[in-house]
Subunit: 251 residues, 2 copies
């Protein structure tokens, strides 16, 4: 039984680190996890990928062969990821893991908001699928920014169409606002109160309406905070994933 | 009187082309427009930028000096954009245009969802500011995808905090769905009807709730369709911008 977990989030939100932590977690609990690096632009990773898209797509070669700048090369490389599904699928079959932890491209825009990402997520064979969306702690330390990233997370969920767990990364860097952030995620009322005291009246109004609707739509962030430096919080991410994966969506 | 227009949108949505078309439009109508390329990763542009961040930030040099891959270099370059505000501001003062059309970084994620973008938009001196968000026609040809990009547009609006005009680009590529897309943007009811016939029941439900709230929050896409190849539609973008800029927000 393969549980596929796609780790997503904005550039620099800590996806690769979260991938390595999840790998460690599942291994420590006696399961058999396997990592798939799906970021053709990755240079160094905090883990050794078991399966690596860089074995199929080389950014340097693309830059040379097509005379592309880094932007163009990353876009092309991300688009090519979908074309490598069969080969990658073969490696997954051979490994036959309990958990396939997929570290997605550095910029979520090049994965979720192009055809390649949804195609890959949809067509990868797995018994259960879930996404972990990384809420970058440093991007959500004000209520308006929190709503903004929640909207982005919703947009990604609609594109990838898998059950989604939201993890707040870099909790250590926002320790003074951590309680507030988790309150905003847990309680629409807490978020509204915070928005009420924001200076930007128009944008706090827009934020309030949008956050109300997200709650009504069943998209309650349900944020779990994880550390950048320790395994702190991983147990909660794993628990949320277990609930999500066992709901048997997709597959 | 300087009207600053930030052209935003996902990678490949046609920002640079839209920038060049707006430049041409304003010039043809007798105004004095100036283009600012804010994308350090741009290689070729369909216009000759009057002011260019590439004169201040060189991606190739960053890649070498810091031994960065394309991902890392783009992130660093985008973050450095904010540090060049003073020099760029000086050039804008000297030019003293009626319209400053700002072509933003290729991936909106590296502009809107990092500190650099909001900082730059907020601190650039201008009498009026507005954003044009490019809805990539090829990314919004299904109702669920349309809602997804609308959410992204809302998220960007909350981060950049300027009045926003939404432009549907590549209308020529989605000509068979164009009427539908414009209907979804104009009428919440039309969008809901379309969502009702989508196969993915759960995601269409989430989409319906989210789109209702965006309408209530006053974020009606108000989409204007523009061509990739002709000046078709520009008049409507310019008209929407005129209304938006004259509302005197920010500045």
């Amino acid at each position: 039984m393969v549980n596929a977990i796609f780790v997503t989030g904005t550039a620099g939100s800590g996806k690769s680190l979260l991938t390595s932590r999840l790998m460690q977690w599942y291994r420590d609990t006696g399961a058999y996890p396997v990592t798939l690096n799906l970021d053709p632009g990755a240079v160094t990773l905090p883990y050794e990928p078991d399966i690596d898209v860089r074995n199929y797509i080389d950014i340097g070669t693309l830059m040379e062969s097509y005379a592309l700048g880094p932007n163009g090369a990353l876009v092309m490389a991300s688009d090519l990821v979908a074309t490598k599904l069969d080969e990658i699928q073969e490696e997954v079959y051979e490994a036959n893991p309990d958990y396939l932890i997929v570290d997605t491209p550095g910029q979520i825009e090049l994965f979720a908001f192009r055809a390649s990402g949804p195609y890959f997520v949809s067509n990868l064979q797995a018994d259960n699928k879930a996404t972990v969306f990384a809420f970058d702690g440093t991007l959500v330390s004000s209520p308006i920014n929190f709503v903004s990233i929640s909207l982005l997370a919703s947009a990604v969920k609609l594109r990838l169409k898998t059950a989604q767990v939201n993890a707040l990364t870099k909790r250590d860097l926002v320790i003074d606002r951590l309680k507030d952030i988790l309150d905003w995620a847990a309680s629409a009322q807490a978020l509204e109160s915070a928005l009420n005291v924001e200076k930007d009246a128009e944008y706090s109004l827009l934020s309030k309406d949008l956050s109300r609707s997200m709650t009504r739509a069943g998209f309650a962030p349900g944020l779990v905070a994880v550390s950048s430096t320790t395994m702190n919080g991983l147990v909660n991410v794993a628990a949320a994933l277990a609930r999500t994966l066992n709901q048997g969506e997709d597959g």
